[in-house]
């Protein structure tokens, strides 16, 4: 089901604020079951458009990300499991 893991793609936590990107793959194996389930419920899935909007004030964590039409907050650690390809502005 999962697309092959692409190490050359950018991970979501390295994406600059306001940059739109498309989810290329999610490393579900690095997440525990509950976390993976929540991410899926928020709509993180290959092909969906994401855009980091805000960073937490302390340690730039968590990250507020627009996913589809909603905005969700996730930890930097989990954003690292999401690989994206740039869409440009």
């Amino acid at each position: 089901m999962n697309a092959p893991f692409q190490p050359e793609a950018l991970s979501l936590d390295r994406l600059a604020l306001g940059t739109r990107a498309r989810v290329a793959s999610v490393d579900w194996a690095s997440l525990d079951e509950g976390e993976a389930c929540r991410l899926k419920h928020f709509g993180f899935d290959e092909g969906v458009t994401v855009e980091p909007l805000h960073l937490g004030p302390f340690g730039r964590d968590p990250i507020a990300v627009r996913v589809g039409r909603m905005t969700v907050a996730i930890r930097r650690k989990h954003a690292g499991a999401i690989r994206v390809t740039l869409l440009g502005r």
Binding site: E35, K40, P57, F58, G68
Partner: protein
């Protein structure tokens, strides 16, 4: 007779489900619990055009029928007819956020597949328009195969149409139900996205003002500053706005007390009613305005969507002590009362994270401590104004709140390093759009709290003050003896006093501590009762409680008493809810022990430092 048909309201969190439920049922709501689990059950009545009653139940918000929390499990079980204490609904209203169809349709598709008679409320259609989104409800109706009604629940728009559709639906014969539903999220998500695309007529990209507001409120520098300012204003307001209504209630209590005092002949009966019931309950209901102001702010912060932003801002700091930003909401609710706060921890998925939050929740300064704090601060801290809008009394109150927060963070840190060691939990939350909650919903929330508080004052507090009055009045003191020493309560207090004497507590405080186990605010009524029994010569209510305190307590004792109440677990309800939430006595006992130890040490340290600073005299 058959029970009225049951209609369930289901949908994603932040779809405006509760607002729709309020719009349908008005103030006629019943809040209870599902048996065996600690999930709140909210139900209400609705009358159809032909006068038939319908019971409406507001199910916990869920993202899917594949539950990730106890709340979501209840939603699934009710819908499948498997929940204890609930019949299977006869019809279903699915609430969708019109501007978030791609996500919300996924759950809606699962729900429609259940085969219950279903109506979709396409809610917050106004916000979707504001975001430049033009939708085609007819297309959505075709794709989903169920009626779709446009609503704006917070403005009561579309509610009449929804009721008519519900009427038609309940009159039609029922078809069979499916017990098996697809849980393949990815498949459902793709179908949801297709339907969403089909239902969108046009989309004009606009700068969403939720985003603009977030740029300020989640700003790395201004965000935390604004959060601190909001908290500060909130606690100042609790003091400033309540002054006048508290004085009115105080005057009314004194008036009733005088009236009854003059009408009855002197003796035990007058003492029971005036010194026991009126003095005790009166001392506590005086604080109703403060408690309601606090709840007003919390309901407002929740309703506008700011509470989740606060969790976002605080997550990293909470993470530092082994909690997550998710714990911030239960902990902030605990400022009103630890009981709903502890119940709100259900949304925390990680068990150790949740247990830590439960154990530190009582350290948040709940509204029941306000009467105690207010009384002592008013009696001992001068009402000096330090700057515009900032008074010394408010500042001390703020300091007490900070002490509670610092204690909670420290306790969490120690717990997570010790007994509750484990991997750090995650933080994943949806940031809903900002909106102004309807005043009516806020008022319903405040009235519910007021009712609960007055019920408590009328039962637990009245009961304990009467028992205390009895213990404090029997046997009657002879000439030259002090009533508070010769009575039964006096003897018990003498026992407690030997333990609390080293931390600066006198006999009167020892006497108040025992009944205050029932609820903290009883400490105030207990002290009021003891002093009015002790000085029968004074006209009841003529001498204010705080003047009496100033003559009997040193500043060091008063400060130690405040420090004690920052930590002491004096609330039966909190202990009971902890037992229920943790399924046993182990954790509540642990909580009570560590909090009493902390309270003793904090009060002791405060007292010794204050005495060393020369504040030990009256």
């Amino acid at each position: 007779m058959n029970p009225p048909p049951l209609v369930a309201v289901a949908g994603n969190p932040n779809a405006g489900k509760s607002a729709l439920f309020n719009a349908l049922t008005g103030a006629r709501q019943k809040v209870g619990n599902y048996p065996g689990v600690t999930v709140e059950r909210k139900s209400g009545r609705l009358t159809l055009a032909d006068g038939r009653p319908v019971e409406v139940v507001d199910l916990p918000g869920s993202y899917s029928l594949d539950p990730a929390s106890p709340d979501e499990a209840v939603t699934r079980d009710v819908l499948l007819g498997r929940q204890k204490g609930e019949r299977q609904p006869d019809a279903l209203i699915i609430v969708l956020d019109a501007s978030n169809l791609d996500n919300h349709l996924r759950f809606a598709l699962q729900l429609i597949e259940l085969g219950l008679p279903t109506i979709v409320a396409l809610n917050m259609i106004d916000l979707a328009k504001r975001d430049g989104l033009e939708l085609d409800p007819a297309a959505l109706e075709r794709e989903l195969g169920v009626p779709v009604i446009e609503t704006v629940a917070v403005r009561r728009r579309g509610i009449g149409e929804l009721q008519t559709a519900l009427d038609d639906m309940l009159s039609a014969p029922r078809c069979g139900l499916h017990k098996h539903v697809k849980t393949d999220i990815v498949h459902l998500q793709r179908r949801a996205r297709e339907i969403a695309t089909a239902a969108v007529v046009s989309e004009t990209p606009v700068r969403r003002w939720t985003h603009r507001l977030d740029s300020l409120l989640l700003h790395p520098v201004f965000g935390p500053v604004i959060l601190a300012a909001i908290m500060f204003v909130m606690f100042q307001a609790v003091f400033a706005w309540s002054a006048a209504p508290m004085a009115w209630i105080g005057d009314a209590v004194a008036w009733v007390s005088n009236l009854v005092g003059n009408a009855l002949p002197p003796g035990l009966l007058r003492s029971l009613i005036v010194d026991g019931a009126i003095a005790g309950v009166g001392a506590v209901i005086t604080f109703l305005p403060q408690i309601l102001i606090l709840f007003f702010f919390i309901l407002l912060l929740e309703g506008t969507g700011y509470m989740v932003r606060a969790a976002f801002l605080m997550d990293r700091l909470m993470h530092g002590v082994g909690l997550s930003g998710r714990a911030f909401i239960p902990l902030l609710s605990s400022f009103a009362c630890a009981v709903p706060g502890i119940m709100a921890t259900r949304t925390i998925d990680d068990p150790k994270d949740r247990l830590t939050t439960i154990l530190v929740a009582p350290l948040m300064t709940c509204s029941a401590r306000l009467p105690v704090y207010t009384l002592i601060i008013a009696a001992f801290i001068p009402n000096t104004r330090l700057a515009w809008g900032v008074g010394l009394q408010g500042l001390v109150m703020f300091g007490l709140y900070i002490a509670g927060i610092a204690g909670a963070l420290l306790a969490a840190l120690v717990l997570r390093r010790g007994v509750l060691k484990g991997r750090s939990a995650g933080f994943m939350m949806e940031l809903p759009k900002y909106q102004w909650p309807p005043l009516k919903d806020v008022v319903i929330g405040i009235l519910t709290r007021a009712q609960i508080f007055l019920k408590r004052a009328g039962t637990i507090i009245l009961g304990t003050t009467i028992i205390l009055w009895a213990l404090a009045s029997i046997p009657q003191a002879g000439p030259g003896q002090k009533q508070s020493e010769v009575s039964i309560a006096g003897h018990i207090a003498t026992g407690i006093e030997t333990v609390v004497r080293p931390i600066g507590f006198n006999h009167d405080i020892a006497l108040a501590l025992l009944p205050a186990m029932a609820a903290r605010e009883v400490a105030v009524s207990a002290i009021a009762t003891v002093y009015s029994i002790d000085s029968p010569d004074e006209q009841a209510g003529a001498s204010k409680l705080q003047d009496k305190l100033q003559h009997r307590w040193s500043l060091a004792t008063a400060l130690a008493f405040l420090a004690w109440f920052v930590f002491a677990p004096q609330c039966i309800s909190t202990i009971a809810v902890t037992r229920r939430e943790t399924n046993g006595w182990k954790w509540p006992l642990f909580m009570v022990t560590y909090l009493f130890v902390l309270a003793y040490l904090a009060a002791g340290a405060t007292y010794w430092i204050a005495v060393a600073a020369g504040l030990g005299g009256t």
